[in-house]
């Protein structure tokens, strides 16, 4: 009988991965990523009963992701996936097959975005591309929401 919570599927590889990557890359500030990993694990353990737990996990997870990203592109990507998986699992939004498909989709998009950032010399161009993409998605979505609400309000929007 499996007694571990589902987020351990991501938490254990995250811890192992961070330690392994730190050992492999040997950065100058080698202690930073393991320290932030400990902080993330600590917040994960402490915040079980806190309201808005996701916010605290995201904050600590993003610090860890940034620290891992400074070491290596793939280390950063790996950390993003594992942190994302941990947060989703701890909130019960990674249970069904459809959820895993969405998570895989998220992993694919983040990979593409990470590659785009990696192959750009500066931040401005990928940031502009990403902002344009976000604005486009939000505009399309706002039109869809308008039509949706209009339909359900009997034509009077």
């Amino acid at each position: 009988m499996n007694t571990f919570p589902p987020e351990f599927r991501f938490l254990v590889p995250l811890a192992a991965g961070i330690i392994a990557i730190t050992a492999y890359v040997r950065p100058e500030t080698w202690y930073l990523a393991p320290a932030l990993l400990l902080a993330f694990l600590g917040i994960y353990a402490v915040s079980r009963s806190w309201p808005d737990r996701g916010f605290y996990l995201v904050c600590s997870g993003m610090l860890l992701t940034t620290a891992a990203g400074t070491m290596n592109l793939w280390a950063g990507l790996f950390t993003v996936w594992m942190v994302g998986g941990t947060i989703c699992s701890s909130h019960g939004i990674l249970k069904e097959t459809q959820d895993f498909h969405s998570f895989l989709c998220f992993c694919g998009i983040t990979t593409a975005v990470a590659l785009l950032i990696e192959f750009s010399n500066h931040v401005v161009i990928p940031l502009s591309i990403l902002a344009a993409g976000f604005v486009m998605v939000l505009v399309v979505q706002s039109v869809r929401v308008y039509q949706f609400k209009k339909h359900y309000s009997g034509g009077a929007s």
Partner: protein, 437 residues
């Protein structure tokens, strides 16, 4: 769509990361910020998809306790709302009663169970319509919530706003609170023992007539007190307008004539008495009461609003007054006692039995009680009843009798169209000869 507190914090983190990336030109910060933004956007798209699935599964069926309801009376409403729940989306259903109604009791909000497939939720409540007319329900409001977002959707299609609630007008049967004082009213009527009566006392003010000083009270309190007198006054007549039924044809020219006559009488009365009361009825239904109105413009505006054919929730058909039936029975008894012919006596006996049977079966109509309660608020000596005289007129008897009981002189005015080649029917006649009597 609204961001919940957790998502607002995450969005702030995204902004900090992206602005930091832009300021420091750091790809690691940009990666972190962009991946977080993608995650939030993805969650939003998933939430939106789930909201659409739930909204498309909603079915609403509403039943009313009664099809027609009178204004101010309560109505039981039962709504059955079926929807398919999603596992992580919490849905709160709120029933939206029609506008201009008051929620009396019951619950209009239902907390659903997330993830339940096709469950039906029942919502029962009572409302009180505050205006008359056809009122449509406002629909239902669905509030969707998950960990990160909340969304409110108002479903107001025809299927969610049915059925239409027909609210009939109701009369005003209570005097306004401002005129009531611990169950009594100051009518300022003079005492019958003298022609002039003291209404109140007040302190002397410069310019007051010294002849009106109450010396005894002034000596008692060591202050000058002035007597305020009231003199016998006549009260303005009550104008009762019997509006035709909107569900049947009526003589439009005669109605226009009645409107002009009522308007003229209202204007004259306002000039003479400074205030007026007008009661609108439509058959045995009290529609509206304008009570002691002093403003001519407001009064005419009210006339314009209410002087049109009205809906009748109650109809009379040759409904005799119970007092009339009793007097007819007495008359038959007297005539039977004096009659010598056995056939006439038998006929009178049969007639008496018929009247007694009707009297036994027929209850006093609610309209008579409503009229009595409405008239009890007013002080009047005269009343004018304007009617077209079309359809059944037996309700007029029920209006006239309580007025006559209160020693009010009633004049019934049957307004007719002027017809060429025919002598005009006598318009005005006393209620003693009564219409519908």
């Amino acid at each position: 769509m609204q961001l919940r507190r957790c998502t607002q914090g995450i969005c702030l983190v995204i902004l900090l990361l992206l602005s930091g990336a832009l300021a420091l030109d750091d790809p690691a910060l940009l990666r972190a910020g962009s991946t977080l933004a993608i995650g939030v956007l993805g969650q939003y798209l998933v939430f939106d998809s789930e909201v659409r699935k739930i909204a498309s599964s909603v079915q609403c069926r509403r039943t009313l306790g009664r099809n027609m309801v009178r204004r101010g009376t309560s109505l039981q409403v039962t709504s059955r709302i079926t929807l398919r729940g999603m596992p992580r989306v919490h849905v709160i259903i709120e029933e939206l009663p029609p506008q201009k109604t008051l929620l009396m009791d019951g619950e209009t909000t239902i907390d659903t169970v997330p993830g339940s497939p096709g469950q039906t939720y029942v919502c029962r409540y009572r409302i009180i319509p505050l205006i008359h007319g056809d009122l449509r329900f406002s629909g239902i409001s669905l509030t969707f919530k998950n960990l990160f977002f909340s969304e409110t959707l108002i479903l107001s299609r025809e299927t969610e706003t049915d059925p239409v609630l027909s609210v009939l007008p109701a009369g005003l049967f209570q005097a306004p609170a401002s005129d009531s004082l611990e169950g009594t009213r100051d009518n300022r009527k003079a005492s019958i023992l003298s022609t002039v009566d003291i209404h109140s006392l007040r302190e002397y003010q410069p310019g007051d007539d010294l002849r009106h000083v109450d010396w005894k009270i002034s000596a008692k309190y060591n202050k000058m007190y002035i007597r305020k007198y009231s003199t016998p006054t006549s009260f303005p007549p009550l104008i009762i307008v019997d509006l035709p039924w909107c569900g049947a044809p009526y003589p439009e020219k005669a109605f226009a004539k009645m409107i002009s006559e009522v308007t003229g009488m209202v204007t004259d009365t306002l000039q003479s008495f400074q205030h007026i009361s007008i009661l609108f009825i439509s058959g045995p239904n009290i529609i509206h009461l304008i009570r002691e109105e002093k403003n001519p413009a407001h009064c005419l505006a009210e006339l314009k609003e209410w002087m049109h054919p009205a809906e009748r929730s109650v109809h009379f058909y040759h409904m005799p007054d119970r007092n009339d039936l009793r007097s007819m029975i007495r008359h038959c008894e007297d005539a039977g006692a004096q009659a010598r012919d056995p056939q006439v006596r038998a006929a009178l006996e049969t007639l008496k039995e018929r009247y007694s049977g009707i009297l036994y079966c027929q209850r006093n109509p609610a309209f008579a009680g409503q009229i009595t309660r409405t008239l009890s608020q007013l002080l009047l000596n005269n009343a004018y009843l304007f009617t077209l005289g079309c359809g059944d007129t037996s309700h007029i008897r029920h209006v006239v009798r309580p007025l006559r009981t209160c020693q009010v002189q009633v004049t019934v005015r049957v307004v007719e169209e002027a017809r060429e080649g025919r002598p005009a029917r006598r318009d005005t006649f006393s209620a003693a000869r009564g219409v519908g009597a």
